[in-house]
Amino acid sequence: MPTIIKLENINKTYYNGSPLHVLKGIDLEIHEGEFVSIMGASGSGKSTLLNILGILDNYDTGEYYLNNVLIKNLSETRAAYFRNKLIGFVFQSFNLISFKNALENVALPLYYQKTGRKTRNKIALEYLDRLGLKEWAYHMPNELSGGQKQRVAIARALISKPQIILADEPTGALDSKTSVEVLDLLKKVNETGMTMIIVTHESGIANQTNKIIRLKDGIIESIDDNSEHNFSSFGFQNIK
């Protein structure tokens, strides 16, 4: 499979108050269609890394190639274009627009692709239907449960047919049962060929993914193949 994401020696420092060197030389390669999780202690830089991958944030040194395009010092307009075309986000806090109903939230990426209103609402309804939310299409976010909100957010991430889904603790705000449902959903999405990168704390979640990246203090501690899904919170079980 061709490489879709390539990081070379990425460094990132936050300069609020005393400088905080968060990413200290990240090298990473992710191929099309991979299902990857990023784990690590709180403050290890998982979100920072994911935000850089999603061009929501910039990095200081190193090189980031997305689809073989160098993503560096992009104008906001260019960045927005890439996000719209290539990337779908799923956030822990859902990030739905509160005054728009489920359908309008899902349809919004298509608005920025200049799709007509009728068409985009029709497509959005299809996506909501696929995620079992057809009856909730005209409900406002505050009328939805956490799991429903996250499914709306997933529908919104999918609607522009991106190549990559970036999910930052997508189940962080959900109960265990809903977490499983949401993860199954993401898994199915991945099976359609979409690259999927999930930041998570939960080993149960990570174990569903095919590759686990461990971050520690801003460097990649390990990258482990998990296609056998035999990962436990205590490390890999040694079956050999």
């Binding site: 929501l56 910039n58 906001e76 956030f91 990030n95 627009i97 920025y112």
Partner: protein, 418 residues
Amino acid sequence: MISLLYEILNTIRRNKMRTFLTGFAVAWGIFMLIVLLGSGNGLKNGFASNFGDRLMNVVQIWGGRTNIPYAGFQSGRRIALDEKDLQFTSAEFDKYVNLIAGNINFGTKTLSYGTEYLSSNLQGVSPNRIIIDGLKITQGNGRFINDLDIREKRKVIVISQRAKDILFNSETAIGKNVNFDGIIYTVVGVYYIEDRQDAVGSYIPLSTSQTIYNRGIKISNFAFTLNENIYDKATNDEFMNSYRKRIAQVHQVSPEDDNAIWYGNRFESYLQMANISKFINIAVWIIGIFTLLSGIVGVSNIMLITVRERTREFGIRKSIGASPFSILKLVIVESIFITTIFGYIGLVCGVGITEFASQFFEPSSAGRNSFNAFLNPTVDINVAVQATLLLIIAGTLAGFFPALKAVQIKTIEALNNK
């Protein structure tokens, strides 16, 4: 663009409170401004109306009786004006004098038609009297005394609207013969004076009156208008001094004799009124500017808060592909949309209320001594529209700068904005 409008309408519909607050600030600012300007205009018009349509720059001269013996004459001598006074005035003071008109006043006698009658003052006048006295003759109501009347000494008369109503009721008066103190005149015109509907004076040609009443070249009084060379108190005083000296010399009276020749100079009262108007104007503009400023500040504040509140929304929009420009456009068009609609509402309400109020301040018809303190408190629609546009622009700028700032916030920071 249609898509953008849909997006904005949706936002407005779902954020009614915010929309209302912004809109109210705009509508209220415009409304207050118009009511204020209207009130100012009402005061100004009230003052102005007390001078009516009579020309502001008119000097009237009457003959009196001497108080001071002079040039061998005893005191108590009657000073009679005549047409020679008109001649020297227009010849020697042509630098300042525009129109000049002599006038014979025959006092108040009975004017009748058939069985209807009333008491009316009669004056012999020249054609330009219509300007000096500020008379109006509408279409279909005939004409004023003209040069032909003067030349041919016609027995024609111009009566007031009120006299016409009494004598003729709804019949036409033009062409009918009326009787003034035993002499028959043909009505050629019906005049009215804007704020004096009760005026009943009648006018006949000066030449006719001189013949009929055997007055020779004598006149009761005369009036002339001053041109733009008299523009303030100093030029007016200077002119009046030299004019008094000259007319005293012509009639051989002491220049110190205040009783020999009487003057009425409306320019002085005009100047007073102009000063009052100027003062009201300045006051209204100062208050108006502050009203407008407070409106602008109000709108700016709301826009500032609105944009700050929407930072996270903007972050979400950017994360799914909105360019900074598209967000800026969203804010600006929404701001223009709201301020325009509510500005228009404020405009309509303001103009509506000033028009409504002006009904209650009809010019009083209580007679010559009536006084209008407040009249026609309406606003020049251009000023109102300009003020509305100004507020729209201000509202837009007020939205633009915070929006520009909000858009420049990094997407991730906007997303994490709580």
